[in-house]
């Protein structure tokens, strides 16, 4: 039912999502340019490049330490809103999985919940405000529900992934309250939130990685 996610797995996943983000440069830059300052892609891309560069070190750490290190790297390399939000989130996640070499599905769900809580608190933001939270929050909700419903690991991952993608898509019609899109007269309505889209890439890649590599077919 469950799976075991190691630091090595996480580094593999990082390399996958790094590529995904890299390939979508024009698209993501365009989303942030439309409603913000245009740097979200270059921020997050630089962040994943530095995570990938630290891959060797990360994969030899226990997963809690790896998460902490990832948080510190994202906070210091990305900068901007995303850097601190991801940085804080990974550090918070690291705490709830403290002492673990590797994690199972419940741990991952707990970690993601800790992440979204930290983001909401730090960003003084809630779901519905047209931010990256709008992808992560529904994914966490779906994850929790799936775990309590006791459905298969594969189905769980599919539900989580779908919630994240739908959540990102739902930002299109939201009015921005936080972040730069809130400066627009129309509050960014009609445009996707770039942070929600890159969040959905990450969740999607992670779920796919778990499905493809950690769960028996």
């Amino acid at each position: 039912m469950s799976f075991t996610l190691t630091s090595k797995d996480y580094v593999n996943y990082i390399n996958i999502v790094k590529q995904r983000i890299y390939e979508n440069g024009d698209y993501i830059s365009g989303l942030d340019a439309a409603t913000g300052d245009g740097d979200h892609w270059s921020n997050i891309n630089m962040g994943f490049e530095s995570l990938a560069a630290a891959g060797e070190e990360l994969q030899n750490m226990p997963i809690d330490a790896a998460f902490k290190k990832i948080g510190m790297l994202m906070m210091s390399k990305i900068g901007g809103s995303s850097g601190i939000l991801y940085g804080g989130a990974y550090m918070a996640a690291s705490k709830v999985i403290a002492g673990k070499e590797s994690i199972d599905s419940q741990d991952l769900c707990n970690a993601m919940e800790a992440m979204v809580n930290d983001m909401m608190q730090r960003g003084k933001a809630e779901p519905g405000m047209k931010t990256m939270i709008d992808s992560l929050y529904p994914a966490v909700m779906a994850y929790k529900q799936a775990l309590s419903a006791n459905i298969s690991g594969r189905e769980t991952m599919i539900l989580v992934k779908k919630a994240a993608i739908d959540g990102a898509e739902a930002t299109r019609n939201m009015e921005a309250v936080k972040g730069r899109a809130s400066y627009q007269t129309n509050k960014g309505v009609g445009n996707l939130d770039p942070g929600a889209v890159t969040m959905s890439y990450q969740i999607e890649c992670l779920c796919d990685y778990i499905i493809d590599n950690l769960i028996d077919k």
Partner: protein, 329 residues
Amino acid sequence: MKKIINNPNNVVSEMLEGLAKANPAVKYSGAGVEVISRKEKKQNKVGVISGGGSGHEPAHAGYVGYGMLDAAVAGNVFASPSPDRILEGIKEADSGQGVLLVIKNYSGDIMNFQMASELAEMEGIKTASVVVKDDVAVPDSTYSTGRRGIAGTVFVHKIAGAAAEQGKTLEEVQAVAQKTIDNIRSMGMAMTPCILPAVGKAGFELAEDECEIGMGIHGEPGITRQKMVSAKELAERLLSHILEDYDYSGSEVAVMVNGLGGTPLMELYILFNEVEKILSEKGIKIYRTFVGNYMTSLEMAGCSVTLLKLDDELKGYLDYPSMAPAFRV
């Protein structure tokens, strides 16, 4: 994209390296930290630091110097510096009396400076913060992020820096910085987009005869996109937004006409000439004027106008000597 750069990923460190070589009064922390600070550290003085994304040069590193900032912390282009960088800036600025953080009101900056100040407190350094929000293009609000901090920030650096230089306490420096913020309003416009080095192309376009009133210093949306107007009409338009928001009538003000990087000084002076006429008609007395590129947006063409209402206290701090290369008084 045509820029005089090497690798887009190294623009900040190479720029600051160049800046520190050009200005012997400051030192550069090195790549990855991106802090410019005074070489001669005065003891037992409140430190004043600022910072934010790069691309706003001479902000913020150009304002480091006697009478102004003790350190400036640079993020990547248009991205707030991270807490660890800011912490280094705080440490450089600290000489035992605490450090004031002058923050521009963007959620990224707020979150990063906030965490940095927590880290500093953990290391035993007292900090206080002020948040500059002078851009009247955005409605003020406590629910949302609210008003952006733009060119008016430079006046806050100047005044807080002078107060600190004169030996005021952290609370006093913070109070006068806050008073400055409360009396500043700015409004800008842009005529061309800017290009982030790492992105390589413009994020939006403005037609050959178009401008955007109220655009932010990161190319954030403004109030209206419209046909280009004359300098006179532009001055009226920018000032009307400012004067609707804050009552400057009968007061003495400092004026800043700020260029966004791609607009020549000639145009800024022509604009100021119109601004002066309107203010003088309205009985608003200009005490001191600053025309130039103070808070830019890479190569963007455009400008902003800032008014700061002065009293004797603020005048004194504004007139106090500053040796910061980008703001010599």
